[in-house]
């Protein structure tokens, strides 16, 4: 029922120092201490599994992960963090698919230098470029109007 820091580290493929760091920043405290030694219980293992999923696999920042796990009732300010994360992840999945698609094409395309020669790839990228140019012709107006205050990228 009790696990030492090195056991937890081994089981979850994480380092001991990372676990101490998580303790330090308040992301994952051990169940308690025997003397000065950290003791983890089942609850902490479950919490760690969730942390791994959100942070490592879901690419949420440690801060957001902390916020998400901190909300007793998810109605607090972290509810927004959670909803936003879902949205970001959704977008991320789509982008990953697109990137994957391109990479697969790179592997199978018979051209010597697909990036320069392949018409399929070229057309696709040309589209993206056009979209970028367009998107920004409008943004450019906004920016020019109000003087300098630019931020955020135009979500391709």
């Amino acid at each position: 029922m009790d696990y030492s820091i090195s056991e937890v580290a081994r089981y979850f493929g994480i380092t001991v120092s990372a676990l101490r760091y998580y303790d330090q920043v308040g992301l994952l405290h051990p169940a308690g201490r025997r003397g000065t030694v950290r003791i983890y219980g089942r609850d902490e293992l479950r919490r760690l599994a969730l942390i791994q999923l959100l942070h490592h696999d879901g690419m949420m920042s440690l801060a957001d992960t902390t916020a998400t796990l901190a909300d007793k009732p998810p109605s607090g300010g972290s509810r927004h963090v959670v909803a936003e994360s879902i949205r970001v992840m959704h977008h991320q999945i789509e982008q990953l698919r697109a990137a994957q698609h391109i990479l697969e094409h790179l592997l199978t395309c018979p051209r010597d230098d697909p990036i320069r020669d392949c018409p399929v790839l070229r057309t696709q990228l040309e589209d993206t470029v056009d979209t970028a140019l367009h998107a920004n012709q409008t943004a450019e107006l906004d920016t020019r109007m109000t003087n300098k205050d630019d931020s955020g990228r135009p979500e391709t």
Copy 2:
């Protein structure tokens, strides 16, 4: 047909300093220079679109992105990088889906503190924990090979 560094930056939602950095590390060189000033052409815009997709959206490191774009015939050493990236992205998509699913549950679960109280979530995490413990009993054996005489530490 020619674009200044600030135009490219604006169009692609990237900073001027990032573009100079890309030039510096050999990821994206300008088509040429007018005096000391960087000039980008259509080819560079297409390349940048690809960079954004792989690096930013596909989460590949700049080094891997550079390697991927560097392979004239994708049969070189970077072929492995590409194949590996596809595999990683595939895994990433699945993990993102799982994370997304959990977050959605957090938003809809009627429990006050789903992380502790919700049986669905709890069971799911318990499974992950068990898998982790299990996976490591085998890994542990590998590591232990040199050190016989057991040590069943999984406790209880």
